[in-house]
C-alpha cells in the first residue's frame, strides 16, 4: 500500500542524484536554517557546528509546528491555506523549473524559454489544482510524490554532511515526542481535527485511498510541512465504517516521505556506493512495515519517522564502514557469498 509511493519517491531521488551532478556538487551556500559552516579546520569544531546546525533546524521545525497548531486551533484557516499555497507554488513552479533546467543541462538538450514556460506552467497549474482542490486520486498522489522528492533533493543539496545525519536523528526524536506525548503539537493537531470532524489539509498528507467518511472516527495523520518541510509525520488509518463504500486507506505525512528520501539521498550522494543505498532502502521499508504493524495494533496516529530512520541510520553507518570494504574486497577477487 504505502510501499509503492515511498519506493517511488526514494527511487526518484536516488535516480536524480546519480544522474544530475547539480544536487551533489559541493557548494558553500547553505540554508539559513543551518547557519554554521562545516568547512572548518578541526574535527571538533566541525562536530560542534553540526550540532548547532541541527539544533537550529529542529528549533525552526518546532516553532513552525507550534505556529501551525496555534493557527489551526484558533481557526485562522485563511492564513494556513495562504501559507500552504505559497509553499506549493514555490515547489511546483520554482523548484521544478530548477530541476528541468538541470536535466536539460546534464543531457545537453536545448530548450527555449517559451517552451519551458509552457511546460512549467502546465505542470504547476495542474499540480496546484490536484493538490489543493480536486483531481484524480492517482494524479494527486503523483504530484505529492514529486513534490516530496523535490523538497528532499533541496535538502540533500544544501544540508552539510554531518548536520544532515544529526538532523535526521533529532527529527525522529522530535516526531516521537510531538505525536505521542499528551501536549505534543502534532497530537493536538490530530485531536483538534478529530473533534471538529475535519480532514487535515490535503497538501500535507499522502493518502492511499479516497475516504468517503460518513461517520466519526476518522483517524487523521498530521504532518506540518511547508517549504521548510517541517517533519513529524504520522501514519493513521481511516477506520472502517458501516458504510460499505468507505475505503480503507492509510495516510502518511509528506514530511515522512521527505525525510526518508533525504536519508536515502544522502546515502547515494556520499561515496557513490550502491550497496549502501540498497541497504538504507531496505531498512527504511522494513521500518515502515513495523510502523504499519504497530498502527494496526494500536489504531491511533503514530509517528512514522523514528523506527525507519533509526533502522536507516544504523544500516547506513554499518554498511558504509563494515560491509562496504568487505564487499569491495569480495568483488575484487570475484568471490560470492
Amino acid at each position: 500500500m504505502l510501499f509503492v509511493p515511498v519506493t517511488l519517491c526514494m527511487l526518484l531521488v536516488v535516480a536524480t542524484i546519480k544522474s544530475l551532478h547539480f544536487y551533489t556538487d559541493k557548494t558553500d551556500q547553505q540554508l539559513i536554517y543551518t547557519p554554521f559552516t562545516e568547512n572548518t579546520s578541526s574535527v571538533g569544531r566541525r562536530l560542534l557546528n553540526s550540532v548547532l546546525n541541527a539544533v537550529v533546524m529542529i528549533g525552526v521545525i518546532v516553532a513552525m509546528t507550534v505556529l501551525l497548531v496555534f493557527l489551526y486551533k484558533y481557526r485562522c484557516y485563511k492564513v494556513i491555506h495562504g501559507w500552504l499555497i505559497l509553499s506549493s507554488l514555490l515547489l511546483l513552479f520554482w523548484f521544478s523549473f530548477m530541476y528541468l533546467s538541470e536535466v536539460l543541462k546534464t543531457y545537453n538538450v536545448a530548450m527555449d524559454y517559451p517552451t519551458a514556460g509552457v511546460l512549467i506552467w502546465n505542470f504547476g497549474a495542474v499540480g496546484m489544482a490536484c493538490v489543493h482542490w480536486k483531481g484524480p486520486l492517482a494524479l494527486q498522489q503523483a504530484y505529492l510524490i514529486v513534490v516530496s522528492a523535490l523538497m528532499a533533493l533541496v535538502f540533500v543539496k544544501y544540508l552539510p554532511e554531518w548536520s544532515a545525519w544529526l538532523i535526521l536523528a533529532l527529527v525522529s526524536v522530535y516526531d516521537l515526542v510531538a505525536v505521542l506525548s499528551p501536549k505534543g503539537p502534532l497530537r493536538m493537531l490530530v485531536e483538534t481535527a478529530q473533534e471538529r470532524n475535519e480532514p487535515i489539509f490535503p497538501a500535507l498528507i499522502y493518502s492511499s485511498a479516497m475516504a468517503w467518511t460518513t461517520g466519526p472516527a476518522d483517524g487523521e495523520p498530521g504532518r506540518a510541512s511547508d517549504e521548510e518541510a517541517e517533519p513529524s509525520g504520522r501514519a493513521a488509518a481511516a477506520e472502517d465504517d458501516d458504510d460499505e463504500q468507505e475505503e480503507r486507506g492509510v495516510k502518511l505525512g509528506l514530511g515522512d516521505f521527505i525525510f526518508y528520501s533525504v536519508l536515502v539521498g544522502k546515502a547515494a550522494a556520499g561515496g557513490g556506493d550502491w550497496n549502501t543505498t540498497a541497504a538504507c532502502f531496505v531498512a527504511i521499508l522494513i521500518g515502515l512495515c513495523v510502523t504499519l504493524l504497530l498502527l494496526a495494533i494500536f489504531k491511533k496516529a503514530l509517528p512514522a519517522l523514528p523506527i525507519s530512520i533509526t533502522f536507516g541510520l544504523i544500516c547506513y553507518f554499518a554498511t558504509d564502514s563494515l560491509a562496504r570494504p568487505f564487499m569491495d574486497d569480495l568483488a575484487a577477487h570475484h568471490f560470492y557469498i
Partner: protein, 232 residues
C-alpha cells in the same frame, strides 16, 4: 562498455528474479512485506559477518596479501554460515527470494554501475568475461537462494537434519567454487549443475510432481485456473 552491456547483464542477472516477483509477489502487499523482511535478514547477517571480518583484518598483518586473502575466505565461510542460521519466515520461497535479491544486488550492482561508464574490460590482461560471468553467477545465486530457502524450511518442518546439512554444504560449495575465479568455467558450470539439482529438489519438496507439471503446462490445472479466474 555500453548501455548494451549494462542492460544485457542486468536482465541476465535479475530477469528470472524479477519475473518471479512480478508473477507471484507483486499483487499482494503481504508477500512484498515478507520479501523485504527476507532481504533485511540477509543484510543483517552480512553486517554481522563483515563486522567479524573487519575486526579480524584490523588485528592482522595488513601487508601480507596471503593473509588478507585467507581472512577473506574465512569471512566468506562465516557469512554463509550466518546466513543459514537466520530464521526463515513462513513463506519459504519469499524469504529465500528476499535473500537472493539482496545477495544478488550486493554482488552485482556496483559492477553494473561501472559497466555504464567508459572503459575497456580486461585491458590489463584480466579476463574479458568479467561482466558476463558476474551476471550469470548472480542469476544462479538468486535462484539458488530461493531453492535453498524452500528446501531448508521443508527440511526443518519435517526434521530431516541431513537435508538441512545438505543445503548448508551446497551453499558453502557454491561459494567456495567462486574462489577459483577468474577460471569462470570451473566455477560457473558446477554452480549451474547444483542450481539444476536444487531446483528439482525444491520442486519436489514444495509438493510438485510430474503430474502437476503436466497439468500446469497444458493449462488444465483446475485449482490454478480457479485461483486466477481464467476461463478455460
Amino acid at each position: 562498455m555500453t548501455a548494451a552491456v549494462f542492460f544485457g547483464c542486468t536482465f541476465i542477472a535479475f530477469g528470472p528474479a524479477i519475473a518471479l516477483f512480478l508473477f507471484t509477489i507483486a499483487r499482494e502487499p503481504l508477500r512484498v512485506i515478507f520479501l523485504i523482511a527476507g532481504a533485511f535478514f540477509w543484510l543483517v547477517s552480512l553486517l554481522l559477518s563483515s563486522l567479524v571480518w573487519f575486526i579480524s583484518v584490523q588485528i592482522s598483518n595488513k601487508d601480507s596479501a596471503v593473509q588478507q586473502k585467507g581472512l577473506l575466505i574465512f569471512g566468506v565461510v562465516l557469512s554463509v554460515l550466518l546466513q543459514e542460521t537466520f530464521p526463515m519466515s513462513h513463506p519459504p520461497d519469499l524469504s529465500g527470494l528476499g535473500f537472493g535479491f539482496m545477495s544478488g544486488a550486493f554482488s552485482v550492482v556496483n559492477i553494473l554501475a561501472d559497466s555504464v561508464g567508459p572503459g575497456t574490460i580486461g585491458i590489463h590482461g584480466d579476463s574479458q568475461h568479467y561482466f558476463l560471468s558476474s551476471a550469470f553467477m548472480t542469476m544462479a545465486i538468486i535462484l539458488l537462494h530461493m531453492f535453498w530457502g524452500v528446501v531448508f524450511f521443508d527440511a526443518c518442518e519435517k526434521q530431516q537434519w541431513w537435508a538441512v546439512a545438505a543445503v548448508v554444504i551446497s551453499h558453502l560449495v557454491v561459494s567456495c567454487l567462486t574462489f577459483q575465479n577468474p577460471e569462470y568455467v570451473a566455477s560457473l558450470v558446477p554452480t549451474y549443475v547444483i542450481l539444476f539439482l536444487m531446483g528439482i529438489w525444491a520442486f519436489y519438496s514444495a509438493g510438485g510432481s510430474l503430474r502437476n507439471l503436466k497439468l500446469c503446462l497444458t493449462c488444465k490445472d483446475k485449482d490454478f485456473l480457479l485461483a486466477n479466474h481464467r476461463p478455460r
